[in-house]
Point group: C2
Chain length 283, copies 2
Amino acid sequence: MRDFTRDHSALALNTATLGHNLDGAGAGWSPERVIDACAERGYGGIVFWRREIGNRAVELGNRVRASGMSVVGLCRTPYLVGSEVPADLAGDLAASIEMAASLGAPVLTIVTGGTEPGTKGVIETQNRLAEHVAAAAPLAAAAGVSLALEPLNPMFGGNRTCLFTVADALRVCDLVGAPNVGIAVDVYHVWWDRTLPEALRAARGRVLGYHLCDWLENTRHMLLDRGMVGDGVADLRAIRRAVEDDGGYRGPCEVEVFSAENWWKRDPAEVLDTIVARFRQLC
Amino acid sequence: MRDFTRDHSALALNTATLGHNLDGAGAGWSPERVIDACAERGYGGIVFWRREIGNRAVELGNRVRASGMSVVGLCRTPYLVGSEVPADLAGDLAASIEMAASLGAPVLTIVTGGTEPGTKGVIETQNRLAEHVAAAAPLAAAAGVSLALEPLNPMFGGNRTCLFTVADALRVCDLVGAPNVGIAVDVYHVWWDRTLPEALRAARGRVLGYHLCDWLENTRHMLLDRGMVGDGVADLRAIRRAVEDDGGYRGPCEVEVFSAENWWKRDPAEVLDTIVARFRQLC
């Protein structure tokens, strides 16, 4: 397990921490201002959301690299299963892959979407998901992009995901069997899972991302009340130990805090400073 | 797996389905009216909440039995761990056991409470929970009451539970090692868990209750937006098959639907009729 107490070069900002995943949320900093503020503070990289990139992927990717950082990833593909799959799934999926490639983002995150219409339970939807991912994997590979299946907290079943654990995500990875398909591990979604070390041993070498936040003792909103690292009940050190020592992950650690009523209301400069201090001390 | 299509004698009402778990919710029927309405419809039993029993446990238990039904269980002990443990835990716990005994309820449900103050993660709280349950088990056994540890959906971590899966509950059962301590399985909490059959095989013979509801595709409130059986995405037949064929359960199936904006607003007679029809057809 790496020691970050005096080195936060592995730290990345997921811009959702500044509200950039939703229209109208946060302080509304431009991507350029975020890039500069992260670079000043020694962040190693940034993860963007598609909605803030527009048609400036090449330009913004180059700006990140010119600032001495890397584009760590892009959020995210459209839903691939469930009731909210876009009408032009193939086109939207290809656009997300192309944007990741243009940014120079090595990883594109997949939040799968929910239960397939007309089905019950989990397995059938997971199997259909695997078919979609298998179809997309060669296109992504040709663009130099890996696809990261992110399991979500089981509260997001029904309309948002069909992957509830690292073991679920690994099952779909195994069904797909493509070298550029792996898993993203997010504290918010997996902190409760006592079997995480063994699940990550099975997924060793296929962990493509590690997302940091915390689970607040009193979570007031399912989606938008994540805790800043250190403010909750997740055992952050134990989780990272499992991600690194069991899962073999050595990549960036991105802080991703959806927090409509707290951190999104603060000055982004304060948020970015807090993250650096907490990352070194607590993660 | 039992066939309920022409026999709903295994059906029990959990009175939370009529809002009786919360002050001011539901139509406000008296326990007597609920008992009569269930008996008229051929329900096999009822599960009560402490708040509606007051000091009438013996009287109400007798009334249930005089109506040809059984008291299936009582909800629930105080929280045993976490920040919201009552000041007089021992007294409150003893009172809940005594009420179950006076009702003639063979099972008292435990919702554990959340993460212990000053700790992170899951294991330490589970271990402390096991100590509390081990201390309470002899008192319950002397009263003829079994204690059912109920794992909750991981969205209830932090302030409400430290048990997230059947496997978690079984871990604590094993730590306790008392013959009157087992597990309750609730569709709302476990529907997403692909490993349920194997978890229930490990728990075989220790399943003390099966709670029916459904997981709505679009869940609008963490606690109070459960679906009526058949309205959601849970594979109810597959779950009951696991509970019965893998877990060895042959007891009552209680319908427990917390539904502030839908079923609690309807005429309880309609709710009770709907349950009978859905139970025979879909569960």
